[in-house]
């Protein structure tokens, strides 16, 4: 969204971001506690995701970690590790699982990895001139190359083949030239042979290999900014989250469209489609018009009796649409009778009309809040002016950060509010969840949700009102009064937003039987800002290749804390769930996922000592 750029980054106006991990504190809404919580290891929310930005420069460093793990565990060279990772979509955990399941040999052969220890000996055995079976030429043994699979062709043919494959965009999986040979060619060979003839194509090959980490990886996605900022975002943990790239773009990591929680991705996709296409216009037309039987133009009845005349001059009966003469009385048309009641048609029209009104109801409210958000963004500058005036005035009050904090809270909650309408449209409509709920259930849940929505709405409007006041002209007491209202309302709104998200996750989406809808968890501070990638728990070589920035260290440590506490939090949660039913604070999303798939037991991105401790 365009107005995202107008938002101040929350770290400017609020407490500094502490960890990479989202933390929520249920006892208070005051953000200082976040720090405390983290240190205490008290963390109750299980929807954690660690996001980082991968730039062109850090792309290599980002994959080094995964490569190193595979190289160390399986005693592979870097290119073999990369081949393996590309085939298994950079899913290190999956590779470890498959290693257990299938064993090393099958793991390797399925990825097209063949190890040939006798390579050196084999090559030296070609002493006579060698006939390449591609070009049918005799070549000297120095101009041939043998791949790991043992197949041997002349360098000329290999090079031509590689170039064709790279130009075809198949760099990541160039197979041996032998028919039905599954082996993937050694990237070092590809690189050196192609480089000798076409250095630019070799560069492209290099880039394709590097970008495989983004293209063939479920946990990394390109930032969807236009024009593209060149960054990619990596998410560890829950992929249903909202991220802010360093370029300022805020988006939903799962579907890459704008941040749209509490709408699920499916709902949002359908909503944008519905708003863009003309289906509703068509609905209006079917409800309100009829085609002229002569010229087929659509005619709207603007009053009067049921004899309608089209601009082409043709008269027709509004009830049945049939052409008639012009002679008529108020209730009958001469020689025309269509009194027969057609129930289905009336029903259909009724349905279309009801659907249209329903859509209009939700769309109007969605639109109203989006528009308010836009206007309030303009308000920002005016308010900054007011702050400057206030700060320069003779007064005891010097701290006006509450204004900015309140303003940010207003923007975020407006956003939540506006997206809550398309959510409600689908949640309580027939399009997605027709058979999920009985109508009583639906009414009950709708009331529950709408109560919360209304509460939030009225508080957001109140906050908006207090923020728009000309506080620069107020006396100190009145400013204090206003400040109190803004701070109170901000914390109330934050709590209400969170409650609404929890209601949506736990009471509305979680019980769904047929469909699975996931939403990004509520973030008190808006979409999470992805941190610049730091080279974490590095091996010595990686540390020496990357110049360590000043901010790397704190990031690193907090990340350890974050993931470490996540582990303990998870265990605590399980314990709580067993001992007491009071679990309202935490979300059920992840636990649901766990029950579906076999989630890995430990996070591989943590240092060994953390894993060991657990």
């Amino acid at each position: 969204m365009a107005d995202d750029e107008d938002f101040p980054s929350s770290s400017d106006v609020e407490e500094p971001e502490v960890g990479d991990c989202y933390l929520s504190d249920h006892e208070d809404d005051i953000a200082e506690n976040v720090l405390q919580d983290l240190e205490d290891g008290r963390q109750e929310d299980c929807n954690w995701s660690v996001t980082s930005v991968i730039t062109k420069e850090s792309l290599l460093a980002a994959q080094k970690e995964d490569l190193r793990k595979i190289m160390e565990l399986l005693a592979l060279s870097e290119q073999h590790a990369r081949t393996l990772l590309i085939h298994y979509r950079w899913d290190v955990e999956r590779i470890f699982e498959l290693l257990e399941e299938k064993g090393k040999d099958r793991l390797f052969s399925e990825a097209g990895l063949t190890m040939n220890e006798n390579k050196v000996i084999a090559l030296s055995s070609y002493s006579d001139p060698f006939t390449c079976s591609i070009c049918f030429e005799d070549v000297s043994p120095v101009a041939i190359t043998e791949m790991d699979c043992g197949h041997c062709y002349c360098n000329n043919c290999w090079t031509g083949y590689f170039i064709v494959k790279i130009n075809d965009g198949q760099s990541r999986r160039i197979r041996c030239m032998t028919p039905r040979c599954n082996a993937v060619c050694d990237e070092a060979v590809v690189r050196s042979l192609v480089n000798a003839r076409h250095p630019d194509i070799a560069d492209r090959f290099e880039r394709f290999l590097l970008e495989s980490y983004i293209e063939d990886n479920n946990k990394v996605k390109w930032c969807p900014s236009v024009p593209h900022c060149g960054n990619a975002i990596r998410v560890l943990g829950d992929i249903y989250c909202e991220v802010e790239c360093t370029c300022g773009m805020q988006f939903c990591f799962n579907c890459l469209s704008e941040a749209h929680s509490p709408c699920s991705c499916i709902m949002w996709e359908q909503w944008t489609k519905k708003c863009h296409d003309e289906s509703e216009t068509v609905n209006w037309i079917t409800v309100n018009t009829k085609p002229c039987p002569k010229c087929h133009k659509l005619v709207e009845k603007n009053g009067g009796c049921n004899l309608v005349a089209c601009i082409c001059g043709q008269a027709f009966c509004w009830l049945c649409g049939g052409a008639t003469g012009r002679d008529h009385t108020w209730s009958t048309i001469t020689g025309h009778s269509c009194g027969r009641f057609k129930e289905d048609q009336t029903k259909l029209i009724e349905c279309a009309r009801r659907d249209l009104y329903r859509y209009m109801h939700y769309h109007n409210r969605y639109k109203a809040h989006t528009d308010s958000l836009k206007q309030e963004s303009n308000l920002k500058e005016t308010i900054q002016g007011k702050i400057v005036i206030s700060e320069n005035k003779e007064s005891r009050i010097k701290d006006y950060s509450w204004v900015n904090n309140g303003l940010n809270r207003l923007f975020r909650s407006r956003r939540v509010l506006s997206y809550s309408y398309p959510f409600a449209f689908y949640m309580f409509g027939d399009e997605l969840f027709k058979d999920e709920m009985t109508s009583q259930e639906r009414d009950l849940k709708q009331n529950l949700f709408e109560d919360q929505q209304q509460q939030l709405e009225s508080n957001v409007e109140k906050l908006s009102m207090f923020l728009e006041k000309d506080f620069q002209d107020f006396s100190d007491e009145d400013v204090m009064e206003n400040m109190k209202h803004v701070i109170n309302l901000s914390s109330v709104i934050d709590r209400l937003c969170k409650q609404m998200y929890q209601c949506i996750e736990n009471d509305l989406l979680y019980p769904l039987q047929r469909a699975t809808h996931n939403i990004a968890p509520y973030k008190s501070k808006g979409p999470e800002k992805a941190s610049e990638l730091s080279v974490c728990w590095v091996s010595n070589q990686a540390r020496s290749t990357k110049t360590t920035k000043m901010d790397v260290l704190p990031n690193h440590i907090s990340a350890v804390n974050a993931s470490g506490t996540t582990l303990s939090a998870k265990r605590t949660r399980q314990f709580q769930a067993a001992s007491s039913s009071d679990e309202s604070g935490s979300s059920r999303k992840l636990s649901k996922n766990e029950s579906i798939g076999s989630a890995p037991l430990f996070d591989l991105n943590m240092p060994a000592e953390v894993i060991d401790k657990s």
């Binding site: 079976s133 591609i134 070009c135 049918f136 030429e137 062709y153 043919c157 031509g160 083949y161 170039i163 064709v164 494959k165 030239m177 032998t178 028919p179 039905r180 040979c181």
Partner: protein, 204 residues
Amino acid sequence: MLDTTRVQKELVECNRDTAISGVSIDLHDGANLTHLCGSISGPLGTPYEGGTFIIDIQLPSDYPFEPPKMQFITRVWHPNISSQNGAICLDILKDQWSPALTLKTALLSLQALLSAPAPDDPQDAVVAQQVFLSNLLYILQYLRDYQKFVGTARHWTETFAKNTNKNEQVSKLVEMGFPEELARSVLEAVKGDENAALEKLCSG
């Protein structure tokens, strides 16, 4: 540019044992090495027996690193070959192509395809459905009614793959002084048996 030395070598190599392999390759028009014309004889013991199938071969400039484009010119009734345009559904002509394969091996694979249609190979069926919806018809027919399939395939072979042969027979009879129309219809009646046709023409 196209590696002409390899293509020339391939042509020589392929045409050396045409009698045994049953496949041959000629230039389509004089000097152009990128446009060739292959021919395969129908495998014995199949409905295609006795037929000669002509295949249009276009070589892309990156040949042999890219597969040759092949297409049946002779119409053929087969689950993996389009009856409309002669397009071929064979993996080695698509993603399974390897530079170590040659035109000859490709033609031999086509010959093998004629003797062993793969209508129930799920992968082929899926591909076939996607590539040629019309081919679904043959697959169904092939599976449901093998005899009928064989009949149609044989009929098509007779009609299209032996056409050149028939024309030669007709012109031979015309040279002997019989009217062309008559010669053609008599040949048709005796199912292409030259001697029987001559006897019939002389007696009638």
